[in-house]
């Protein structure tokens, strides 16, 4: 598996945290999962104890299968040394067609800053960091309409 980003020096996710664990379970299986309310049928992000729209406790994690798109981005070519995170990188907020208004933070890979456009369709790629952690990243859909 290709290593797009060197995650070894920066902070890693707490995949054992009970509220977020189902997300990381999903990434290990090659899925992006968000919690979905079984009463009002809406996804939400970040994880909540009650549905933030109808306040129901009846929530279930579900895989997102629709097209991901770039909502916004920033090209960062500078770092605080204390964080040890590699630069340069493109930090993005990603929106899925079936969950409008919810933004997943990630990094955009295999794309030059000058080729980034807001709204561009993205494919998710999963980078395995270790047995427990698989980080979702995004890259432009190949052969996309310009």
């Amino acid at each position: 598996m290709k290593e797009y980003i060197d995650f070894s020096k920066g902070p890693l996710p707490d995949v054992g945290d009970s509220e977020g664990a189902p997300f990381w379970e999903g990434t290990r299986r090659g899925e992006i999962r968000f919690p979905k309310c079984q009463d009002c049928n809406q996804f939400h992000w970040y994880p909540c104890t009650l549905c933030p729209f109808c306040h129901s406790p009846n929530l279930k994690w579900q895989a997102l299968t629709s097209q991901a798109r770039l909502f916004t981005w920033s090209y960062v070519n500078w770092n605080l040394p204390a964080f040890g995170i590699r630069g340069p990188y493109i930090m993005v907020l990603v929106e899925f067609d079936e969950a409008p208004g919810l933004y997943l933070t990630s990094d955009l890979v295999e794309c030059r800053p000058e080729d980034v456009t807001i709204g561009m369709p993205l494919d998710v790629v999963f980078q395995r960091v270790n047995d427990k952690i698989t980080m979702p990243l995004f890259k432009p859909v190949k052969d996309r309409q310009s």
Binding site: I5, F7, G10, P11, L12, P13, D14, V15, D17, E19, G20, F23, W45, Y46, P47, C48, P52, F71, T72, W73, S74, Y75, V76, N77, W78, N79, L80, P81, A82, F83, I85, R86, G87, Y89, M91, L93, G101, L102, Y103, L104, T105, S106, D107, P113, I118, G119, M135
Partner: protein, 405 residues
Amino acid sequence: MTTELKRLRDKVAVVGVGETEYLRDSGRKPRELIIEAVQKALDDCKLAPGDVDGMVGGFEGAQLFSYSDLAHNVGIKYRFHGDMGDYSGGNTGSFHLAAMAITSGMADVVLTYCTTTYGSLMKTLDGEVKEETEEVTSRVVPAGMKDSFEAPYGSNMPGIFFAQMANRYMYEYGISKEQLVKYLGAIAVNQRHNAVLNGKGVMKKQLSYEDYINSRIIADPLRRDDCYVISDGACAWIITSAERARDCPNVPVYVTGMGYGCTPMGSADALTQKAGGYLYKPHESASLEQALRMADITREDLSFAEIYDSYSIQLLLSLESLGFCEKGEGGPLVESGAISLKGSLPVNTHGGHLSHSCIYGATHVVEAVHQLRGESKDCQVRDAKIGMVSAGTNWENYVTLLRRD
């Protein structure tokens, strides 16, 4: 509700303000800075520590130096304290609690204090960064979900979030990058101009538009000079009843309007979710509208506005959110010179967070008081009568309107 609030209009007044020097790295502890600012505020209104009987901690106040500890050091005997130290709107919002305490009889003279020592913790933007930086930044960005879902991707400074907003803003309003850079540059240059005239802030050298363009890009499209200056410093102010204020040596600066707005959101939603509005915060205009109704004035009556400005793009978006122009029209507004000292609405007359110092909006309060007393020297706005201070976060905003007779 506003009718009830009107009962508080002009009932309390700021009588004293105190501030330390503002330095990138003071080498001093929060308690030293706070004590200096408090003693200067007392001296400013010729009150003794024993006259203070209430305290309201700003952000960050009591978290870094407790009420009891401060009182023990300075010699205050208090019968009321309350905290406004949960995030960056608290210094502007402190007036709400102080006004309630004084008008209800819980206290007669209320002291507010706050400090930051980022400078000491975080040396310089460009230079060596100490280990504490991690702690500092995790306080800027609420911990929890953000640690797991954002930090690993490199969200190591809030400037990245604002850079993302800037890119989205350009997209939504069809503004080219070249044009946006001109707008943001106009803000940075204007505030540096004010800071140099003020002379008390961290930045003491003029910034030309060319300097701005050549400054380092931190998170595209934001440059170093689009970001707040890292600094150490402390502020304090003293509030009492309007009646008692008239016996104090300074011109009373009355609290004539107070407003609060809130859009509840999850603790991790700030800056990266739509909750509350990705670009625009409805609670900003709500807080201003409430304050204007309480004061019974309009935006046109404001002599100046001190608006929370940790990033130039944040100020641009706030000018639009607060209703000083249409959405997407903030650029032409700032480029027209309207926000300069001689413009129709001078903004951040002391240089703000961008060029003066970053004490979470506290210097904005102190500057508003100086302006209304006519003490702002080279940055004095002519005939300043009513000033606005606005500060908040992604989920809430406070507006305080101050006026003189």
